[in-house]
Symmetry: C2
Subunit: 142 residues, 2 copies
Amino acid sequence: MLTIGTLSKKTGTKVQTIRYYEQIGLMPEPGRTEGGQRRYDNAQLDRLSFIRHSRQLGFSLDAIRELLDLSDHPNRPCHEADAIARRQLKQVEQRMARLEALRTELKRMVHECSGGRTADCKVLEVLRDHSECLTEHDEIGA
Amino acid sequence: MLTIGTLSKKTGTKVQTIRYYEQIGLMPEPGRTEGGQRRYDNAQLDRLSFIRHSRQLGFSLDAIRELLDLSDHPNRPCHEADAIARRQLKQVEQRMARLEALRTELKRMVHECSGGRTADCKVLEVLRDHSECLTEHDEIGA
DNA sequence: GCAAAACCTACACCAACTGTATCTTTTTCC
DNA sequence: GGAAAAAGATACAGTTGGTGTAGGTTTTGC
């Protein structure tokens, strides 16, 4: 029987986060002691590890919910899990492409800054004047 | 004299977002008509363009606040703006490195999935078993 | 048996918006 | 000029994925 603190250490998840996962229905309600404290078993430890690992791979909580559901039904065809992973891969590649463009632009800004007054600072100039922009970057957030 | 809708179209910013920027003090309070509607001038259009362009480059609203402040004081030395851009560049490079690792892992997952039952789905297996993991990916969020 | 550590609930807060409801102003068209 | 439609106003809730805090209870270790 594991306390929430032990689970927290074993999975690298904050205690509050575990309670949060329970609240949103991602983790099942665990058993309680007489005094009302949560106690977990190994199945729950595995489930939380699965969740954390998936989060580290960039899956959204919704995607993880789907994956857990698939994992709970071993007789269903596998292509759904594969599709989720493929979707995720596509997203990651899109993000990388966008970041690559931003990196180019930022490098240019930094290299052109000669260290004078802000009045003729290239960094600010580039930000002020969109037409200086070499790349198309119309999506926000990374 | 520009309406908020015109400003919205010209900068590709949602109307609500413009009002939100005003609320958090990033945009100044504009003039109003008799009836209470906002009216903007070109200076404000430029400022909003600056904000949007900076957001597209991944700067946080806090960083943009600093940059706007620098931009408002042309006699200050430029190295602060340069430092902000360098910080941003470093962040972008870190994100790219992390995404690169995730991409490798996801590719591996997708390629190994043979399309059988979820019981022996490689995608789920990888997520279940952290020890299969080729990369170190302990930071979350991208 | 008592202090300290770990736990409990409940709620507020973070970024950076977006969406909704309800109402008023402005524009457009006949 | 007057009706209808488009655009604007405020205020507040919701989004994602958590984190932080306050104030109280339970468990553990010596």
